[in-house]
Structure formats: structure tokens, C-alpha cells
Symmetry: C2
Subunit: 163 residues, 2 copies
DNA sequence: CTAATTCCTCAAGTTAACTTCACTACAAGA
DNA sequence: TCTTGTAGTGAAGTTAACTTGAGGAATTAG
């Protein structure tokens, strides 16, 4: 507490290098996140970025969320719910956490459902699309009106025997 | 059973257009899958692709697997375990299914674990990387020896108060 | 036999999430 | 002050999984 440990932490704010060390993110990634609106560092009069301590938390949240499978867009949306005028409190973060937890629950149960049908559906004949529960009903069902599609092969009455 | 319903199904094999209709995949996607070694149609003397009925099943498997989050590379690897000399049997498919089911189980339990720690870790101070269980320990832990990283912000004794 | 389809190939474009590069500009310290 | 070391910018490259487009050949319908 004499003069200062490293200027990079001092009056103006935290440098990108410091943030990079603390989060493990490459400076290029951090700049990218700024472009994506995930962090909003201010600039010195000479144009260098200066971050706040709270940005470390933001960026850590990004890393964690990504490892949970969320996209940058989703993460930005979540972060946008944090207050802009004051440093987010524990309660602010918990609200985000709760929302993500909900989404995760949904994904997990969705995956679980699909997994449970995997055996039966792949193992069996699984002839018609409309019967195949594994075929995601939302994604691409009835994309065209070309007639019935048969997932997993062989329609019942197409050509008698297999080719 | 007179002359033929559609030439595209007849002697030489199934055309890409037919496969496209049946699976819902764009021809461009099917060609891409060929490049990626997921299907191996033979060619007519004039160079057109001819598929087998079993390819519909292969491609359906690809679609299902993708919706479960598997990459083309993983899917190709799985499909490579199918016999090349004969049409895969139900048992062949079940073996693949079993292996994918296992991987899914792993992913689900991993996600579940992370989700359970989400609340606590984001909500709390979660100061040091080494204490933060949410921070994927395999991915990027100790990338540099630059000293301890602090996830989710503020290290205990860095600068007294918040910036 | 024509005309309309369908198919082929190859190159380039697309989105996400970044990295790498080339150059320039500031900042920190001996 | 002079020299590193960091920063900054903008453009282009990277991987995955495809799509789009250009230009040409086969097939199928009438």
C-alpha cells in the first residue's frame, strides 16, 4: 500500500491485460465481447479500454454460461437484465442464475426424454415419421407437403423387398 | 406393379432427389454428408449418385443424433462401426444406440451437476478459481502460471474496496 | 425430338465465436 | 530518453455444417 502494485489497476480502471489474466480470456476475446455488447469498458483519453472490477464477474459468467451451452446472444440478453446504473448485487446475479437454471432444467428434461426413446426408436423399424417420437416435432416437421416422410428407412408399401 | 411408379427408385438404385424427399434433407446436405463419409452412394456410368434404401436409415440417424447434440464427426465414427459388407441389422443399430445412450447419460449428468452448482456459485462471492466448482476444471484450468485467477470477480486482498 | 426437370461439380457465401496479422500508438521502466 | 511491452484498429482467416450460385450434362415428360 505504498505507491502502487501495478499501474494497470490504478486510477483510471483495469486494463484489458489485467482482465485477461484474471479471467483467462484472451484480449481478443474480450474485445470481441465488447463488440457483442457483453462488456462496456470506458476509454482513456488516448483510447485504451478501462474495465471495472464488476466486469470480471460478467466475463466469468460468460465463461460458465458457455460451458453450460448458452450462446453469446442468450448470455447478452441475460446480462442486459442487470442494472446499468449500479454495480450488480448478489440478488441481481441470483435472478439471472435462476432464469438460466430454468432453461437448463428444460434442456435436461428434453434430452432425457429423447434419450429414453433412442433405444426403441433406432432399434425398431420406426417406419413412419408421424410415429417416430425421436424426430423432433417442432424443428422441421411438415417442411414440405411432398407427402409422408419415413424416418429410419423403409416405408411399408413402397417396393416390396429391400433393394 | 405395372411398369414402375417412378424411375427414380428403379434398377440402379435411389436418386438423391428421392432420398431428399424421404428424409427431408436438402440434396446439398446429402452431398455434403457424402463428402463427410456418412453415406457412400455409388455412381451411375454418367456420374449420378445412386443410394440404397439403408441410406435413408443412416441419414435419419444423422438427423436424430444431431438433434441430440452430436457432431458430424461423432456420428461418422459411430456409423463406421456398422458393417460395410451387409445391410445393418436391428442389432447393429442397437449397438450404436447403446453407445450414444451412454454418452447422453454422461452429458446429462454433467449438465445436471453444473446446474446444481449454478445458483450457489453465481450467487455467492465465489472468489477463487480453485474453489469454484462451476469453472470447468478440464477445459482451461491453469493455462498459464500467471498466478491465481479469480472467477466471478474480486479477489480477497487485491485492492481494499471495490473500484 | 424438345422442353422441362433433375443432377453434377466447384467455388464462394453464411453464422458463431473467436484468433491471427499487420501496423500504429501509447505506457512503463532503466 | 530510449526501449520494451501493451494497446488499439481493421481485415482476413478458422471450424462446423451447410446453402447458394454458375454453368453444364442427363433424364424424363409430352
Amino acid at each position: 500500500m505504498k505507491t502502487t502494485p501495478k499501474l494497470r489497476l490504478r486510477p483510471t480502471g483495469l486494463t484489458i491485460g489485467f482482465i485477461s489474466e484474471r479471467t483467462g480470456l484472451a484480449p481478443s476475446a474480450i474485445r470481441y465481447y465488447e463488440e457483442e455488447g457483453i462488456v462496456h469498458p470506458h476509454r482513456t483519453d488516448t483510447g485504451q479500454r478501462r474495465f471495472e472490477r464488476a466486469d470480471i464477474r460478467r466475463l466469468s459468467f460468460v465463461m460458465i454460461s458457455q460451458s453450460l451451452g448458452f450462446s453469446i446472444a442468450e448470455i447478452r440478453t441475460a446480462l442486459d437484465s442487470l442494472p446499468a446504473n449500479r454495480t450488480p448485487t448478489k440478488a441481481d446475479w441470483q435472478a439471472i442464475s435462476e432464469s438460466f437454471r430454468q432453461k437448463l432444467d428444460d434442456r435436461i428434461s428434453q434430452m432425457t426424454k429423447l434419450r429414453e426413446q433412442l433405444d426403441g426408436c433406432i432399434g425398431c423399424g420406426c417406419l413412419s415419421l408421424s410415429n417416430c417420437k425421436l424426430y423432433n416435432p417442432d424443428d422441421r416437421a411438415r417442411t414440405r407437403g411432398t407427402g409422408p416422410r419415413y424416418l429410419m428407412g423403409d416405408s411399408p408399401s413402397d417396393l416390396g423387398q429391400d433393394a
